[in-house]
Amino acid sequence: MAVKKVCGIETEYGIHHLGGDNPVSSSSMLVSAYVADLERAGWDFEDESPGNDARGYTREGAMPPAVETHLVNAVLTSGARYYVDHAHPELSTPECSDALELVRYDKAGEEVLRRSMVAVNRILPDGQRITVYKNNSDSKGNSYGCHENYLMDRALPFARLADQVTSHFVTRQVYTGAGKVGSEAGGSHAREVTYQISQRSEFFEETIGLETTLKRPIVNTRDEPHADPKRYRRFHVIVGDANLCEVATFLKVGTTALVLSMIEDDALGNVELRLSRPVQAIRQISYDLSMREPVELVDGRTAGALDIQWELHRLARKYADERGLDSVGGEGVGREILRRWEEVLHGLETDPSAVARQVDWAAKLQLIEAYRDRHGIGWDDHRLAALDLQYHDLRPERSLFARLDAERLVEEESVMAAVVQPPRSTRAYFRGECLRRFPGAVNSANWDSLVFDVGTGPLQRVPMMDPLRGTAEHTEALLDGSTSASELLERLSAG
């Protein structure tokens, strides 16, 4: 039985500092400006081991990312982590129990960045300004990520997972792609590309591997469960674009959670969807706005990206009927994933403009086509590159995305609540609520533990090794009945 697909998204935002020249310190200022006024705990690095490889070894020459402990790093009362990673501000959502909840926390993350911009621009000297973009490329060959994480059963052999999930990762871009003007790759084919589906696809050079910054792999093998390593795996997915359309985020996470559940339950076992050259295919599909150009399968047949997505959708429907949808949030959310998946595939094969309110690359393309039409300009006009970039600008007064009538899945009010309140359905609840209720007593936090300092005696670590415990159901009464952190800890140890 597939384990519940607890999930989260880590987004590295693009940052531009007018009048500044060090993106690391600009990012630090941005994050600090937001957290300065908040009660917060520091991040505890005890649990970090990004160099561990899920295949059980570290390949020679592999370069695990360094953990940068000196940079700003904070845990928010929503259970999110907000920090500086390399030269970018990054926000990791709290653990969510399904794709719809994650849409809410992904949007709340954008709001945190928006408030950060307001806070930092208030204190910057005249003539300086920091702006944040939710995209994945600077159009000059530099990419930064939007990673997803899914809770998986440790018993599933990683080789099977990697083997079976690749086709989905290569083809899901038809609805998760955020669109990009031009190409950043070399080669004559790339030079002819005027517009492509994905921001990120061109940056993938390997099928599988541990790196995230060099030779990026379609399947990332980082094995850092942030949970009981005997029972769980955290599958770290680096192959996605950051989305602004809520439906795109919902489908990115929802379809992937479903496909992963199917792999755990061996419901994709004999499907012959395996691609013979995934790295070539992911790029080819990004360049092919028809989404029909055939890519080679290992058994010698060919299939288009939409064909492969339709086949995965058919199998997912069958899986839902036979095995249920408990692992992806139950019938309600699960059926909504299947319904929207089908709707978007139908739209894409009819005319991408049919899904311009749901899919970022289609929305951006429609805007660009209309703009070209009005001004009679060619693809090399700088205004199109500017329009591409400004689609992702998070400032309400500048954002082009905000001017479109994109379909919403979550109420604005619930997004604002998610800026400060944790989800009730995962251990993020306990983390966030402890911070909110006992801010002075939480010394530090990480994904799988909280460290308390109640003023007397040694620091006390409370482990949270199961992402599905520490929920409101488990701990709300306990928290409500505790007037102080000491009392909470006493009750916890009394069990």
Binding site: D85, S143, T213, I238, E311, H382, A386, D405
Partner: protein, 65 residues
């Protein structure tokens, strides 16, 4: 694959059957969309960064992740 082909064909047939009565509504929607898009383009002309070339050139990021 066969099952899907069948399903797609049947949904296409349904769409064709409905097409005549839906056509006027669809073209009205199209007109409305075009008008909205026009308004949007006016707005974009106002908010698009003034010096597009310089704006795009100055947006340089370090690789991340």
């Amino acid at each position: 694959m066969a099952e899907r082909e069948q399903k797609k064909r049947s949904s296409t047939t349904r769409a064709e059957e409905k097409a005549p009565e839906e056509a006027p509504a669809a073209s009205a929607t199209g007109e409305k969309l075009k008008a909205e898009l026009d308004d949007l383009l006016d707005e974009i002309d106002e908010v698009l960064e003034e010096n597009a070339e310089e704006f795009v050139r100055s947006y340089v990021q370090k690789g991340g992740e």
